[in-house]
Point group: C2
């Protein structure tokens, strides 16, 4: 449980609700029952009601949910009504790919610059965003009101830079490095371990093949 | 629960165990107790023992775990002792970034080619891997013994191509498209929804700021 009593499981489902509600809005649908939403999302209607009840409901019994209202409320819970400034540390292929994502901006996440220890790419631009050398990082964070650092650099570099970042007052890290960071308690981290994800896929291929073999 | 009785929660922890054991191996450590492993991994020793018991133990009471043996056994459970051939569909920034990951090859995942509907980039290469046009996909999958498709293309394209892929006999999809795919039951999918992950980070920034405000 988080400090405010909302379970991790519900929190991880919120972005998915938000995504489906965005689709409904795009389709011009104004109202939806928990039943119809449950069919679309392939979850039970009772789970949807339970999840939404954790935030005080949102629905009118018998009338279903107002799509736009629910979309906006979930956006607020997710903090998407606030603006965040990001730096990407590690301007390799993945860092540059993330810098090219326009979609993040629509949700309020603005990349302000990229950083890399490779001096030879300093000054280059990715979608109009400059690549800076690492020694400019601290100053840049202060001057550009940066609150999120995205780590797309190798393991060892990530461990080192995470110390600098917390010393600069960064309170949120989106970590793509293949390592678990040790950070002060007030710093939030969201890990995207791509190799772990690929291994989970591999496990499931393996175990579904074993099941098939058993059934033959 | 999966068909073979191993819980999803344990499966999601396996890649992390594998990662830590790999680090221990690199450090030349041959044996580790569940206690020492638990301190490193910041989980309880009893969780480690419970998790490993699901696969029949691995340990000798009082002697700790043999690091290399455990590493190899977990690799087998994860199916990492088998070779997988991949295609990446969508040769934009993210697709190219994934094609550039050498680490996947070390785990037995070999990218064989990239595909894109943009005819103007056909024939270009990413780390020696060719970009093909979409009409070559079916033939390529058959000729190159492809078993995993990586989807790094927009939502609508992902929905369309997933139908072609299952018709070609693909049984595993690593999906980066911002949509839940509807697939036959025997096709396994692992989703990496980057926007969802960023929204979870945003939620946690937001809720930790609210907690701070309450405590002031």
């Amino acid at each position: 449980m988080e400090a405010n009593g909302i379970s991790q499981a519900v929190i991880s489902r919120l972005p998915r609700y938000y995504r489906y509600l965005g689709d409904l809005k795009d389709e011009g649908i104004e109202r939806i029952s928990s039943h119809d939403l449950s069919v679309r999302m392939n979850v039970t209607a009772s789970q949807i009601r339970q999840d939404f009840n954790q935030f005080g409901g949102f629905g009118q019994q018998g009338y279903g949910y107002n799509v736009e209202y629910l979309y906006d409320e979930i956006a607020k819970i997710l903090g998407l009504n606030k603006k965040h400034n990001l730096v990407i540390i590690g301007a390799g292929h993945l860092g540059q790919a993330l810098a090219n994502y326009m979609n993040f901006e629509r949700r309020g996440f603005f990349t302000k610059g990229l950083f890399d220890k490779d001096a030879s790419i300093e000054g280059q631009e990715v979608r109009g965003l400059k690549i800076y050398s690492m020694d400019k990082l601290e100053e840049f964070i202060k001057e550009n009101d940066i609150d999120i650092a995205v780590l797309t650099l190798p393991k060892q570099g990530a461990l080192e830079v995470s110390k600098t970042l917390t010393a600069c007052g960064i309170k949120a890290i989106w970590n793509f490095a293949h390592v678990d960071l040790e950070l002060p308690k007030d710093v939030v981290v969201e890990n995207v371990h791509l190799s772990d994800s690929l291994m989970k896929l591999s496990y499931r291929i393996n175990s579904s093949q074993e099941n098939e073999a058993e059934n033959e």
